[in-house]
């Protein structure tokens, strides 16, 4: 573990986390974009600091996304979408500082737990990743969608409309099987599909600003609540079950390539609510509603490295950038990495540990000014947020088309709120739609059109059964509460 004694590695870990937190907190700059912006800098570096730098950006960005989610109801990253539910509610009740503290500590718990899993269990978990056939991925996507039943809030019908709209968005772009362009209206910008982050930014941030500007009495956060507050020991104990749920789900979703932090966060939120003694508090500012998703998406920062390191298979955009970082330094992640470059692997592990410590320390430093910033006079705050949005969205692909697209989504989000439609099912549809459709169709191509493939594959059968049971349970609970 030479990483600790090498000041250069320690410095890059801190720098990477700082950059990641800032990038993650900017709406539009996702973890993979923040990493991609730094990647060219790493070409001239030594391999270990270069890899540590990129991994630290990932850690920082996944955490940073929760800051705007809590403070301004805008997830900075996809996986922070679930955090808006209770995080922003806490902020509205004047407990923003406490919510930020919970998110920071839960992120740390998740990051450290994920690191332990990565160090101890990479080999067996890689086998889990390999057991996932297209049919199993379809099952995983259905399981993720089953969360809609409880995210729909008051009206399941409206939740279904939102989910269908999200699935429609996910079908835009190149058809996953035949490659024909679908719903692109001849525009090359749409050929690659609509990025979920654009939908998030429009649906949350832009729509929120459009609503707020029309409110006669602007929601006010009381000035005395601008202090960051770390959870007390009693609170920490109370949050442990929620964090444990987040850790478990995050591990599972991290090691299956393609699933990722967003679904992990949503499922963790849902399960934390299901097993809570007081499920009705969720959505009304429950601390557990921040702890569960934030520990889950930070576990993923470590466990998403399992398929990358052990199989050489990147499971997400961020992991793909990290793979690029390895390749540029002549290292090929895969079964032989542990034999050929053990120093790099252990350097990465050490770097991840430092990155998590850096996340805690930098979080403590950054959160107070962040709280101060969102308490500036509203006109300037709104102007600054919108300036950030139009800049951050342009930065993703240097495309004004994307900025226009975000505005369109914002208007749609505005009307959905007006009609009382919950937006989270829409988000889930966008995130899961492609995975759902492509694996459904792949499975049928493989089986020659026989739907039994979804029952005969044991993993798929297990996941689909779980989805049915969980949905049934949620519906029964909603029914009982309404009756």
């Amino acid at each position: 573990m030479g990483a600790f004694t090498d000041p250069w590695t320690v410095a890059t870990a801190f720098g990477g986390v700082l950059w990641g937190i800032l990038g993650g907190a900017l709406p539009g700059i996702s973890p993979s974009i923040a990493m991609a912006l730094l990647l060219p800098f790493t070409y001239g570096m030594e391999p270990i600091p270069a890899i540590v730098l990129l991994a630290s950006v990932y850690v920082g960005a996944e955490y940073g996304g929760s800051i705007p989610a809590i403070l301004i109801r805008t997830p900075g990253t996809n996986s922070a979408a679930a955090t808006t539910l209770d995080g922003y509610e806490m902020a509205r009740q004047g407990k923003g500082g406490e919510a930020l503290g919970i998110s920071l500590i839960s992120g740390l718990v998740g990051g450290l737990f994920g690191l332990v899993v990565l160090v101890l269990a990479t080999e067996p978990l890689a086998r889990v990743a390999l057991a996932f056939t297209p049919a199993a991925y379809f099952g995983l996507a259905v399981l993720g969608l089953s969360v809609i039943a409880s995210l729909a809030g008051g009206s399941l019908t409206k939740g279904l409309i939102a989910a269908a709209l999200g699935l429609m968005v996910a079908t835009v772009g190149t058809d996953p099987v035949s490659g024909v362009p679908r719903f692109t209206f001849g525009s090359p910008e749409l050929l690659g599909g609509i990025r979920p982050i654009l939908v998030m930014v429009g649906l949350f941030a832009v729509a929120e600003m459009l609503v707020q500007i029309g409110e006669p009495e602007w929601a006010k956060v009381e000035a005395r609540d601008t202090r960051l507050k770390l959870p007390s020991l009693a609170m920490f104990r109370r949050l442990l079950p929620a964090q444990a749920i987040g850790c478990g789900i995050g591990t599972f979703e991290g090691v299956t390539p393609g699933a990722g932090g967003t679904i992990a966060a949503f499922m963790a939120y849902n399960e934390a609510r299901r097993w809570s003694k007081n499920p009705d508090a969720f959505g009304k500012g429950a601390p557990e509603g921040v702890a569960a998703p934030e520990s889950a998406n930070n576990v993923v920062t470590a466990t998403a490295l399992v398929p990358l390191l052990s199989l050489g298979i990147p499971g997400s955009n961020s992991a793909a950038i990290l793979l690029g970082g390895f390749l540029v330094h002549g290292l090929t992640p895969g079964p032989l990495l542990f034999e050929r470059a053990p120093d790099v692997v252990w350097g990465l592990y050490g770097g991840l540990l430092i990155a998590n410590i850096a996340m805690l320390l930098l979080g403590l430093v950054i959160l107070t000014p962040a709280l101060w910033l969102v308490n500036r006079p509203k006109p300037f705050l709104v102007a600054t947020i919108l300036a950030l949005i139009v800049s951050g969205v342009f930065a993703i692909e240097q495309s004004l088309f994307d900025v226009g697209l975000v505005l369109v989504v914002g208007v749609i989000g505005y009307f959905l709120r007006w009609a009382g439609v919950p937006v989270l099912p829409l988000v889930l549809g966008v995130v899961l739609g492609f995975m759902l459709e492509s694996n459904y169709r792949r499975s049928l191509v493989l089986s020659g059109g026989d739907h039994r493939v979804f029952i005969e594959d044991p993993v798929a059968l297990g996941l689909l059964t779980a989805a049915v049971l969980l949905t049934g349970f949620s519906l029964w609970r909603e029914f009982r509460r309404n009756a």
Binding site: T133, G312, P333, G334, D402
Partner: protein, 318 residues
């Protein structure tokens, strides 16, 4: 992106005189090379390796710009609108032709003028090491004997690899299920867990599993055998008349003077012959295939016509 400044700074130090015969200086001090791939992606790595070696030969500063979006159409548009003074080029791959054919953007591949073809990327057909197939001929014999039973996987829908497998299907009458994936990772999992009988891809993508002896190469889909895999027979040798050509090259805005093209041809030839670069690209199994401007123009036009015909024939485009 960041790279422009960092490379300019790194290379501002020396202006090495241009090579022997051409005493003429390159007309602009900085050349920007644009790619649609993100940092760390295929074309990005190709450009960054290339300019390391081109810089001392051509005596100009190089910058790499990653212009993503629009499946390459944005990057093509940026270069097509640049001044034709040799200051900006686009790193070509078959993608820019495919995007043009699939979505007909305002600026297509034909709004650029090919400058050179530098490398061919060989494609290989492989299976997992537990598979009973030792060669492509084994797999083909099995497929012919059991039509409709095999499952083959390619990385992306409507990609060259996918089209290649569809062609192979017709050639040998296998009626195999051909599944497309999202990039190489998905595909590799399904080859390793035995869901698929055959996969197809670039050697670079499968290197990790190949080195770890988890997969077995069955055949290479090029005209000739690869120098670093002399025992690996081509598909043709194994009775399947299939050749996939994937290229890496450069193209610029239209109207560029011939002298500039000649200087590039010269410089590229020199660079490809240099031992340091050779070692680098051999490791990635890239096959040097330098074509100058005229040849590159003809090659690109022929390639595009062939792809267009295939896509139309398969009904992907109308």
């Amino acid at each position: 992106m960041l790279t422009r400044r960092s490379f300019a700074a790194a290379s501002a130090a020396a202006l090495v005189p241009f090579s022997a015969q051409a005493q003429m200086r390159y007309p602009v001090p900085t050349v920007t090379l644009v790619t649609h791939s993100s940092p760390g992606g295929g074309s990005d790595v190709f450009l960054r390796e290339l300019i390391k070696h081109l810089h001392p030969v051509m005596g100009v500063n190089f910058a790499v710009e990653n212009v993503r979006g629009g499946s390459g159409a944005t990057a093509v548009a940026r270069v097509a609108r640049a001044r034709p003074d040799g200051s900006m080029f686009y790193a070509t791959t078959p993608t820019y032709i495919q995007t043009t054919l699939l979505s007909r953007p305002e600026f297509g591949y034909d709004s650029l003028d090919p400058l050179a073809i530098v490398f061919l990327d060989p494609e290989v057909i492989y299976t997992r090491v537990e598979s009973p197939f030792r060669t492509l001929a084994d797999a083909v014999a099995h497929a012919k004997a059991n039509p409709g039973r095999q499952r083959w996987g390619a990385a992306n829908p409507a990609s060259l690899e996918r089209i290649a497998f569809e062609k192979m299907n017709r050639l040998i009458g296998a009626r195999a299920a051909v599944v497309s994936h999202e990039g190489g990772g998905d595909l590799m999992i399904n080859v390793l867990n035995g869901t698929l009988d055959l996969g197809i891809g670039e050697i670079q993508e499968i290197r990790a599993q190949l080195d770890a002896n988890r997969i077995r190469l069955l055949g290479v889909v090029t005209e000739e055998r690869l120098p670093d895999f002399p025992d690996l027979a081509t598909a043709r040798e194994q009775g399947v008349d299939l050749v996939v050509t994937k290229f890496r090259g450069l193209a610029g805005p239209k109207g560029m003077p011939d002298e500039i093209a000649a200087m590039w041809h010269d410089a590229l030839r020199q660079v490809l012959a240099s031992p340091a670069y050779k070692e680098q690209y051999a490791k990635e199994s890239l096959v040097p295939a330098l074509k100058g401007r005229e040849e590159a123009r003809r090659f690109t036009a022929e390639f595009a016509a062939e792809i267009a015909a295939t896509l139309r024939e398969l009904g992907v485009v109308r």
